[in-house]
Amino acid sequence: MGGWKHPARGGRGRWAKMAAHLSYGRVNLNVLREAVRRELREFLDKCAGSKAIVWDEYLTGPFGLIAQYSLLKEHEVEKMFTLKGSRLPAADVKNIIFFVRPRLELMDIIAENVLSEDRRGPARDFHILFVPRRSLLCEQRLKDLGVLGSFIHREEYSLDLIPFDGDLLSMESEGAFKECYLESDQTSLYHAAKGLMTLQALYGTIPQIFGKGECARQVANMMIRMKREFTGSQNSVFPVFDNLLLLDRNVDLLTPLATQLTYEGLIDEIYGIQNSYVKLPPEKFAPKKQGDGGKDLPIEAKKLQLNSAEELYAEIRDKNFNAVGSVLSKKAKVISAAFEERHNAKTVGEIKQFVSQLPHMQAARGSLANHTSIAELIKDVTTSEDFFDKLTVEQEFMSGIDTDKTYGYEHILTLHNLEKAGLLRPQTGGRNNYPTIRKTLRLWMDDVNEQNPTDISYVYSGYAPLSVRLAQLLSRPGWRSIEEVLRILPGPHFEERQPLPTGLQKKRQPGENRVTLIFFLGGVTFAEIAALRFLSQLEDGGTEYVIATTKLMNGDSWIESLMERPF
């Protein structure tokens, strides 16, 4: 299993096969997935008879993570369309259901669909499912457009936090950062708070809430308020989480801008991971054993799902890319040795046993081939001069060297956005606090062990992400030790307690780790996730992390979300 340390406590079946990638962790996120699936089924069954779903295109990705087409089919979904203007495509179904985010512009399209419905055709029932929340504003718009009455069911589907992996939840809300920090629009914070309430309903009240940043404060306030609203239903679930840490992205604007150097981080930097899928150039994945037929290279991009259900990927995803090669070659030896075993299988029993392992071995071989190809693709990029230069500039930037860049006028609005978000600051003297922060939090580590890391800085080959360092210090020795730095960083830091009834108070076994839910408001990168996983697996770490975020992102997608081009 390479150099990865294993958690000492056994019996968790962390690498258990099956598609149970959501249940390997300390917190079984399958419970959440099952809950949202149940809610979806219940809604579909409310609309009796055959149905067609009209999708707000943005939702299809996230929905794919909780319900495949087969589930929809079981509930008589016969057709799927993408939401667009004018008339709906013909479909011989009883129900038309719109799955949409509550946005005014989408309401206009829906109204257009409904109004241009052919009256001569068979009557169809319309329904709307708002994701994640019903909106009075949107319903008012539908009313103004004269179609509100056409909908039989108007409901909400509170899909706030979508389980991505055994320790990872995301709201996949693209605009969250911009809305929160640029436009003072708290909508996504409200959804985050709602999502946290849902989590608490399933996994118990989280007794302690820590936070840093303006948005974190607001989410905590909303949670406390919502708890008051729900006082009726005493939560009697034994708490799974010990702490919640709410972190504003704008406390650490630097980290996402650095190039991630973990395997998963690089895949994301170079090819972009969307809803756990990545599309790769097909050349390297050409079937090798096709013989004569293999002359045509596949033209379509190779689409792969990346999550910890894949044993090999789970092992290498969070490693520094420089440590991936050796694991892959070791793995290759192990696998070919396993295949060689067949020559040793003499008795029927031995052959039988070999055959029974075959599917698993073949899967492992396929997985190895895929990741070897991906690693080659990445290597082509990382060994290029450009990449090296970019990295050098970045690393110099971390130590405060000025860089001179020019922009065209088309970026004037973007520049203003970046300034508003705190990413850029006009050079106006003033104190530069970065050195203090860097020193106190040990953000730059000179001796990095990429192969067998001893510190989180391995994820950026030197730079330790500030956000994760804050989490690490919170767990040990506590934030009191870094009050000074916390005061320099933007936004308040705070602690709230949510009292538990005596029956639900946890008595920790000696040596049992605490579980912290860390919520990044405004996005998180795969490298930060890797760093947190590294902390989770430290023998003496004392804390395991489950990560939640408004969006999985990287520097490019993040800046992209802040860009505004007038032309």
Binding site: E183, D185, N221, R225
Partner: protein, 839 residues
């Protein structure tokens, strides 16, 4: 024991019926029951009497009085009837009184005589008047069936969701049916009616003639019909004095009985209990009550007074001016225990316990007898069950004592059923109390459920009792105490003689933060009573903004609604209030309101950005937000202006705004952009091609690529492009063009401000080693090694590095030494290194 079974009357061989008193009635009726319209609700519900109804012989000058009593005769309401003539009264499942008027209007009253609403049974009914009407109960709610003067039926199966259904006509029907009833089969209501010797069944589409299987001949008319409580059984009384009993499917006869009385009975109702095999109907005449079933003999009672029958789930209630009684089949467990000379385990256990109390050793004998048969568990269960069916607390106690006694001798007997029975009986005894007057039997109570019972107590405003019961049964607060307190509060806000402050305080004191209490519901009730101020006070206690805000809007307290919405963080709610405010206030006031609420203002800005751009501008203007105004005009310049002049003008406005915002950088950049646009326009005119909207650099590059070097340099001067950058641009463009000649000329035009390494690099990028080498020689000493390596001259690079005695350069060259060809060079470096170390 003898005296206990004294009121047991056998019907046939297998069943006993008993009648016992529930209450001696407290009411002081002046009239005879027969002079009133009477309606008594099932499940021990209230009794309504409409005295002095519209009888032809009486003068209509006296206004009739509507009285409502509890089952024990306690007055609940008394009002003068001021509406039209009433044909029929009935109670809904929610204990609302439905008064069916002759004109087909149904008036609905609460238990306390409070008018709730009214609805009409349709035009056809209005025109033909109501001849007769029935209120019936189904699993969906309460229905009304009407027989009109035109002998047609109209019904609604659920008055809560009024859908009128006009039933088909009975062909050739000229007279009113002699009797009729509603049936309920397969979730649909039907009507069965008798006309002379014929029976007709009406469903929603058809009228079919039906016959009763096994009906004795000679019937020329049916006088009464009765459907059982569960709609399973039907009984008909004929003019021959014959009673037919069968199933409502009309497929099966259960039994028949000839009572030899031909006078039409006043009432006929079924009397059977769930899961009993015995079927019996109770027939009442003026002075006679008869229980008949599948037995040759009937049970007869004399009625001293005018009486009224109320069918129940498990028996019949009979009330008169002075008493209220219950008639039912003796339940199996009671029969087993109390039947004379019974040897049932329960009977023995009861005996044993009595002997035990007398300190007699017979107790042991009885107990042994039960234990030897292994029937002790059964005995205990029997006693518990029988206790439930006893009306008198002393009998309940004695049976429970016996059960408790028996329990002691059982190892593994879960006491749950015993405890629950004790609790249930305690509740039942409390509500059967004369002052409360709800004479529920155990079976009825179980059927009704505790939740409905609590609702009924609330309906009677018996809040303290309801709360005591909740606490006693330890019901979850949300279902129990909270709900009742909320109801109490809703009642409280209707007390107009108490001030708003006092009501609000009283309610908050009692309710506090009790979970599950909806202050907004209470507030809505207060608002409904016209007490807006009270409603606002109450809403202060409401933690759920989603509930709070819409009501505040409804009460036209929009600004308060806005601050509540903002507090909640629910942006959708904020938007909703904002749009409301926008319509309600004039623009100035609206903007002022926004100014005081920054969060709302930023949300509204977002809204305007997508929906109302002009308003956005006004908002920025109001706030003197010149920076955003500048950005706004930039967007406008590109989004809405087609012509270049318009775009430049919009940019000018933007630049002015930036100056006001003291954003020199943006202002200058904008002015430059204007200049550039104008220039690009000129270039397009003069040179053709695409220039508009290219960046400055791209413009320069395009010019160079097009061979307009002079123009490019002019542009660079005009826009003060630093020399370094211009060189880069030119270098890149020329290399892209592959114009090596021009590049060389350019390189020699003057000393390169960016050195010559970029020339080498760019040539190599274009794979032109030949050209690259030309420049490599001109690269300054500090970059020389790198340049030589780039063009692949490892040997010379090594020489230079050795000459420089630079360790870093040496390593760089060494790392570039590959294969056999560079072996000599590598050796040379190693030697140089060694020498350097010696020194």
């Amino acid at each position: 024991m003898d005296c206990y079974t004294a009121n047991w009357n056998p019907l046939g061989d297998s069943a006993f019926y008993r009648k016992y008193e529930l209450y001696s009635m407290d009411w002081d009726l002046k009239e005879e029951l027969r002079d009133c319209l009477v309606a008594a609700a099932p499940y021990g519900g209230p009794i309504a009497l409409l005295r002095n109804p519209w009888r032809k012989e009486k003068a209509a000058s006296v206004r009739p009085v509507l009285d409502i009593y509890s089952a024990s005769g306690m007055p609940l309401a008394n009002l003068l009837w001021k509406s039209g003539p009433v044909v029929s009264l009935g109670w809904s499942a929610e204990e609302e009184l439905l008064c069916v008027q002759e004109d087909g209007v149904v008036l609905v009253y609460g238990l306390h005589g409070d008018f709730r609403r009214h609805f009409s049974m349709g035009n056809e009914v209005l025109q033909n008047r109501v001849l007769d009407a029935r209120i019936f109960h189904t699993e969906f709610g309460s229905g009304v069936a009407i027989l009109t003067g035109a002998h047609r039926f109209t019904l609604s199966a659920n008055v809560g969701d009024l859908k009128l259904r006009r039933m088909p006509e009975v062909p050739g029907l000229q007279t009113a049916p002699s009797c009729w009833t509603t049936l309920f089969q397969e979730r649909v209501a039907h009507i069965l009616l008798a006309v002379g010797p014929d029976l007709y069944l009406l469903d929603h589409a058809t009228c079919s003639s039906v016959t009763l299987p096994g009906l004795a001949p000679g019937v020329s008319s049916f006088l009464q019909m009765a459907v059982s409580f569960t709609y399973r059984h039907l009984a008909l009384f004929t003019d021959t004095g014959y009673i037919w009993m069968g199933t409502t499917s009309l497929k099966e006869k259960l039994c028949e009985f000839n009572c030899n009385i031909r006078a039409p009975p006043k009432q006929m109702v079924w009397c059977s209990r769930p899961r009993s095999k015995e079927r019996a109907v109770v027939v009442a005449w003026e002075r006679r009550l008869m229980v008949v079933g599948d037995a040759p003999e009937s049970i007869q009672f004399v009625l001293d007074e005018d009486s009224y029958l109320v069918p129940e789930l498990d028996g019949v209630r009979i009330f008169s001016r002075s008493t209220h009684e219950f008639l039912h089949e003796v339940p199996a467990a009671s029969e087993e225990i109390f039947k004379i000379a019974s040897m049932a385990p329960g009977a023995l256990l009861l005996e044993a316990q009595k002997e035990y109390e007398k300190e007699s050793q017979k107790a042991d004998e009885y107990l042994r007898e039960i234990q030897e048969l292994g029937q002790l568990t059964q005995a205990v269960q029997q006693c518990i069950e029988a206790a439930g069916h006893e009306h008198r607390p002393d009998m309940q106690k004695s049976l429970l004592r016996a059960a408790s006694f028996g329990k002691c001798f059982l190892d593994r007997f879960s006491s749950e059923s015993f405890v629950r029975m004790c609790q249930d009986l305690r509740v039942l005894n409390a509500i059967r109390d004369y002052h409360i007057g709800i004479p529920l039997t155990y079976s009825q109570y179980k059927q009704l459920t505790i939740q409905v019972l609590l609702d009924r107590l609330v309906l009677r405003r018996l809040y303290p009792l309801a709360i005591q019961i909740c606490e006693y049964l330890r019901l979850p607060e949300v279902q129990g105490v909270s709900r009742i307190l909320a109801h109490w509060a809703c009642y409280k806000v209707q007390q107009k003689d108490v001030s708003d402050e006092d009501v609000a305080r009283a309610i908050n004191q009692k309710l506090g933060d009790t979970p599950g209490v909806s202050y907004s519901d209470i507030a809505a009730r207060a608002y409904g009573c016209g007490r807006t101020e009270l409603a606002i006070k109450l809403l202060e206690y409401e933690p759920r903004s989603g509930e709070q805000v819409p009501l505040l809007l409804k009460m036209k307290r929009s600004k308060l609604a806005l601050s509540k919405a903002i507090e909640s963080g629910d942006t959708d709610l904020v938007f909703t209030v904002l749009l409301h405010l926008k319509n309600e206030l004039n623009r100035g006031d609206f903007f002022m309101t926004l100014r005081n609420q920054p969060m709302a203002l930023s949300l509204y800005r977002q809204f305007c950005k997508h929906q109302e751009l002009e308003t956005l501008k006004d908002l920025y203007n109001q706030d003197d937000n010149h920076q955003e105004l500048g950005s706004f005009h930039i967007r406008a310049s590109y989004a809405s202006e087609e012509r270049i002049e318009g775009r430049v003008a919009a940019l000018q406005t933007a630049a002015d705004a930036f100056y006001k915002a003291k954003n020199e950088f943006a202002a200058k950049a904008t002015e430059d952009q204007m200049r550039l646009l104008r220039l690009q326009r000129r270039l397009e005119d003069e040179l053709g091609g695409q220039f508009l909207d290219l960046s400055l650099h791209d413009t320069v590059t395009t010019l160079i690529l097009g061979g307009h070097n002079k123009r490019a340099e002019q542009l660079a001067r005009d826009f003060r492009i630093p020399d370094k950058r211009l060189w880069w641009l030119k270098l890149t463009a020329l290399a892209d063009l592959g114009d090596w000649e021009e590049l060389e000329k350019f390189s020699k035009s003057k000393k390169s401000p960016i050195g010559y390494l970029p020339f080498v690099e760019i040539c190599m990028k274009q794979h032109n080693k030949y050209e690259a080498k030309k420049y490599a020689s001109r690269v300054g000493p500090e970059q020389k090694v790198k340049a030589l390596l780039l063009v692949g001259d490892v040997a010379q690079a090594a020489d230079v590095a050795i000459e420089h005695r630079n360790e870093a350069e040496l390593s760089l060259v060494l790392s570039n030494c590959t294969g056999a060809t560079d072996g000599a060079t590598a050796d040379k470096i190693q030697r140089a290194r060694a020498q350097a170390q010696k020194k």
